[in-house]
Amino acid sequence: MNLSNLSVGLSTYLLVGAMLFSIGLYGVFAKRNIIAILMSIELMLNAVNINFVAFNRFVWNQKSGTNYILTGHVAALFVIVVAAAEVAVGLALVITIYRNRQSTNVDEFNWLKW
């Protein structure tokens, strides 16, 4: 694919990232179902990845030396790995707590307080 003639600027990409991040954030804040919250977190992590890739593409594409040029990609890759691990553990936890409480509603997870 040759898409070298694209004309969308960095800010736009970043705005998309920011928007995804905020939507994810809203999900974390507002959803009752714990799985939906996990999904929202995935959205946030994705938003960060967009940032990394975009910065790599737009700002540091030509930075000299092979050592630097793909840092954003590497970061994104690690984030994906971490996100996967996190979601795995998270879902296992969901199963556990569902076993205990028969619920996935985070409003009910308030035994620990004060």
């Binding site: 694209l6 600027g9 991040f21 994705n46 040029i69 994104a76 790995v81």
Partner: protein
């Protein structure tokens, strides 16, 4: 053309994300999530991160989404159409999220250095380039990530299986 593609998929991704957090049906949310990930993958392609796009599709749309669907199925009870409702504080949540978005957007827009268009892509980005980096400069996080995945695996098993206190 790239612009058109970008906007299509960017809007798609955002709309799908919106769907994830607004859908009342948790299964729908999961499907929107897949859609969103796919849209983001396309954006990666637009930014010459082909390998990442592939990884995104494989891991997110493949593995993660499937896991989520499984979890949804395992924990589902009651009416599925109200399985994913908002809590009482969603208004506050929306406000805070909006505030966060506003400051992010302001910062992005206020930074003149970022009001730029792309220069021609010169940096590669193939799996080979990445692997070289991962095994040299980012050797330690790479190994650590391996351990991390092991930990996640073990953890998932331990947690899902359940640890009981012996009486």
């Amino acid at each position: 053309m790239g612009t058109v593609v970008f906007f299509i998929f960017a809007i798609m991704a955002i709309a799908a994300a919106w769907g994830v957090v607004t859908s009342k049906n948790i299964v729908h949310s999961a499907l929107y999530l897949v859609l969103c990930f796919s849209g983001v993958a396309v954006l990666y392609v637009l930014m010459n991160a082909d390998f990442l796009a592939a990884v995104q599709l494989l891991i997110y749309t493949g593995a993660v989404a499937i896991m989520i669907v499984f979890a949804v199925m395992l924990t589902l009870r009651g009416d599925i159409s109200v399985s994913n409702t908002e809590n009482r504080h969603w208004g506050w949540g929306a406000l805070v999220a909006a505030l966060v978005f506003i400051i992010m957007a302001l910062v992005i827009l206020a930074n003149p250095d970022w009001r730029i268009l792309a220069t021609p892509w010169t940096s590669g980005g193939s799996a080979e380039d990445l692997s070289l980096l991962l095994l040299t400069r980012f050797m330690i996080p790479f190994e650590a990530a391996a351990v991390l995945l092991t930990v996640a695996l073990v953890g998932a098993v331990v947690l899902a299986k359940g640890v009981k206190e012996s009486k």
